[in-house]
């Protein structure tokens, strides 16, 4: 991630900063509210651990959405990918990692495995969506 930002030019670094800022703000609010609810015994330990499990995916999704919104504000179409690894490949890699973690948890009979399988499925769907969009965009450019 750091290398990706270092390789970016000044406008891309600004959109990264906006994305990270928005994601940090959203996650901070969710974390502090969950923390207070857990401290006052409104949330059980299971519910708190379930929330903690969602922090990373929500962080990445919020960052991606905020950065995409900021890039569009500066005139990017959202389909212009000049990065070494396209978005759909990164999503599929994340899905593979979550899938592997889910299989590991399943082998240990941990209930959270089903949540991770769900997340991995959602990432595969998102990867397929962005992959098809990229293919359509490239085909339209060739014509």
């Amino acid at each position: 991630m750091a290398q990706r930002i270092m390789r970016s030019d000044e406008l891309e670094q600004r959109t990264h900063l906006i994305g990270i800022g928005v994601a940090a703000a959203v996650i901070s609010v969710v974390s502090i509210v969950s923390g207070f609810l857990a401290a006052s015994n409104v949330l059980t330990l299971d519910a708190t651990s379930a929330i903690l499990m969602w922090i990373f995916p929500v962080l990445m999704l919020t960052y991606g959405a905020a950065r995409s919104h900021a890039a569009r504000r500066y005139g990017s179409s959202g389909c212009d990918e000049e990065e070494r690894t396209p978005l759909y490949v990164r999503l599929l890699w994340a899905a593979a990692l979550l899938g592997a973690a889910a299989i590991f948890l399943l082998s240990r009979d941990v209930d959270a495995a089903s949540i991770l399988f769900g997340m991995a499925g959602a990432l595969v769907a998102a990867g397929a969506f962005f992959g098809i969009r990229r293919w359509q965009h490239r085909r339209a450019q060739r014509q």
Binding site: E10, E12, G75
Partner: protein
């Protein structure tokens, strides 16, 4: 801030991608500067001025209120 970047680029027959490569930035950045959606940093403005062999103030001018 307004600028004459698009006119200067088109005079030389360069695409946005060509200019981006010469300035070592992305094509999106060139597009954002040309459409006045983004004001470049001072180092980038100097690079642009040097590339077109003009002064910064002849390429960039303050927006009229």
């Amino acid at each position: 801030m307004n600028n004459h970047l698009r006119r200067l680029r088109e005079q030389r027959g360069w695409s946005q991608g060509d200019l981006a490569e010469r300035l070592d930035v992305s094509r999106q950045t060139v597009n954002a500067i040309e459409t006045s959606k983004y004001d470049p940093s001072l180092p980038l403005a100097f690079r642009i001025a040097k590339l077109f062999r003009q002064s910064i103030e002849s390429i960039f001018e303050p927006a009229r209120d």
